[in-house]
Each structure stands twice: as C-alpha cells, then as structure tokens.
Amino acid sequence: MDPVILFFVLGITAGLLRSELRLPAAVYEFVTIVLLLAIGLKGGIELAKQPLGQLLPQMVAVVALGFVLALLAFPILRKLGRLQRADAASIAAHYGSVSVGTYAVAVAYLGSRQVSFEEHMPLLLVLMEVPAIIVGIILARGVSRSTRWGSVVHEVFLGKGIVLLLGGLFIGWAAGPVGVEPLEPLFMDLFKGILALFLLEMGLITAAQLTGLRRYGVFLVGFGIAMPLFSSVLGIATAWMLGLSLGGTVILATLAASASYIAVPAAMRISVPEANPTLSLAAALGVTFPFNVLIGIPIYHAMAAWALG
C-alpha cells in the first residue's frame, strides 16, 4: 500500500480512538491550497503544449457526465432511500461533482506504478465540479424565481476550489514548463508530503463523519459504495469513447466515482439550506472517500485494464 494511504489510515484510527490529534484549521487550509494549485499548475503546463480546440470533445463529454451522474443518483436516493427531496438533490449534487482529494490520490497511485495519463486532466476536473451543483439546485427547488442565481453563481465559480484550480491552470498555461520550473520544489517535489498531511486530516474528518453515519444507517452506506462503482463504469465508458489512455481512463473513472466535499457542501448550504448537511457529508466523506482511496482506485484500475484489453 502506498505510504500516503497509511497516513489516511492513521488519521481514521486516531479519530476513532478519540485522540487529541488535530491539524490546526489554518494548516488544513494551507495544505488544501497547495494541492489545488499544484494540480492546476500541472494541468496548465500541459495545456500550453496543445491547442484547446482539440480537447473540446473531452470537455463537452465530462460536463455531460457530471449532469448525467447527478440526474441518475437523484431517483435512487428519492425512491430507494426515501429521502426528502432537498436531501436527495443535495446528495445527488455531491456525487455528480468530483473530489480533488480523491483525484490527488489517484495521481499518486498511478505515479507510483509508473502508469502515465493525459496531463490535462485537471482541466476536466474543474469542468466536472460545476454541472452537478446546478442539477442539485434545480432538483431541489425547480427553476423558481426565488432562487438567487446571482449568489449561486458567485458561490459556485468563486469558491476556493474553482478559483485555485483555474488560477493554477492559467498560471501554468501562461508560464509554460520553463517558467514554472522555479516553483517546482514547493508544488511538485513536495506534492506527496503535502498529500500525506492532507490525508491525515481527511482521516480525522472521516472518523468524525462516521458518528453521523451510525444515525442514518444502512442505505447511505450501501449508496456510498454502490454509486461510485456504478459511476466508475460510466467514467470508463466515457474514457473509452474519447480514446483515453489506460491512466487517463483510471483518472476519469475515479473522477466519476468521487463525491465532492469542498465545493458542493458550501454551495448547497447556501442554495439548498433545508437539506441536511450531515447526511451528504456522512455519505461522501464517511463512506465514499475512504472507499475510493482504500479500495476503489485499484478496482477502477483493474476494470480499466480489462476494458482496454
């Protein structure tokens, strides 16, 4: 097992044993910022090498995938889970969108196995964050006039995640490989160390969500595991249609399978306040994030290898 994953396990264990350990909130913020910028920069460098027009089919496909995943999750949550409309819509938005932390783990996983992937994936990551949020809000309240779309747009596009990813992409694109070189010690060389700290804190946060999970039970656990498996199949199918490499297919499957816990919770809290955040975070963080990190990514790797034969 990759040592960065062991940091996650350490965090969960410490959290479950009620250890005093916690990262200061400012450190968690800093670590998240470095990860987001590093991912953005890497993608930006790659974008500098190829015309954006060539990537258009991929960009359109992942946006469509984001819409479809949220729309598929909603009826399952509503009918099978018998959840309230707002709760089902909010959870659907979480699962249609993506998790940057899970993406980073997949990148580290492929890196340690020397599997290469299309380096412009961060662009697709940014694009996949947004559609599900819009679906979630519309599913929760219809296209009503009372929705303050101005503040929704502000919340979605000016949230920390999107600003830093897009900012990193832009800086990487503008500076190019040579320009970014002086920044590499912080953003590239330290990537794994920063990721380890991030996963340690994620383990602590995950452990805290597990108590919420005990209250809401079996359906959420089942959904939190079945949904990413199902989504990853759609991700692999999309990657196959786009003709991505093995590594790219694993990344897209992981993106499809991951559930957001930064951008979407913040947007839902403001736009769909009646949805209970404990439910969506218990599923996304208590079940799906650890599932993807510990078991999911190797499964998607195996499925992708089988699909690409």
């Binding site: 909130a25 804190e201 805290a208």
Partner: protein, 100 residues
C-alpha cells in the same frame, strides 16, 4: 465620563453563512460588526472548526434597541429553521453613541 445605553446583539452560527449574514447586517442600518471564529456544541452537535463545514462564527453588533430587535426578528424568520444559529441581545454602555 458619560456613557450611553445601547444593545449588543450576538449571533453564533455556521461559518458558511458569513457573507449572507453580513449583507443582512449592512442592510439593517447597523453601523458595524465584529466577526470571530468560534467553536462549541449545541443542537447540531459539536462544531469543532476542524474544517470549513464544521466551523462556526460569532458576530457581534452594537446598535440601538430598535435595530437590534428588527435584525433579530429578521434572522429568526429567515435562518433559524435551516441553519445552526442562536442569537441573544444584551444591554451595554458605550462612550461615543454617534458611532453606533
């Protein structure tokens, strides 16, 4: 030194609500506010500020009695149902009444 009676309205709520809340305060006619990071426990469980989704803020507003009452009523109507929020009003004395 003369002191003048004012009201101190204290709101403890989710950090996610900060920008929305500050818009409401600006619109209410209050002349200022103070925001501090906070953590604690209430109906919504322990809010330990370990990461953004579990962070709280405490917002303090010193204003006249009428503004405090109308702001409290507005926040109660709009946010009490869906958000983790408490508020309370206390009597305070200030030295420069024109500031508030």
């Amino acid at each position: 030194m003369n002191s003048y009676p004012k009201k101190l309205l204290t709101i403890v709520t989710e950090a996610a609500l900060e920008s929305t809340l500050i818009r409401e305060i600006d619109r209410s006619g209050a002349h200022g506010y103070t925001v501090t990071d906070a953590r604690g426990k209430g109906d919504h469980g322990v809010r330990d500020a370990g990461w953004p989704a579990s962070a709280n803020i405490r917002v303090e507003v010193v204003c006249d009695a009428e503004t405090a009452r109308s702001l409290a009523a507005l926040l109660h109507d709009r946010y009490y149902q869906d958000y983790a929020m408490i508020l309370f009003i206390a009597d305070v004395e200030v030295l420069r009444p024109e500031k508030f």
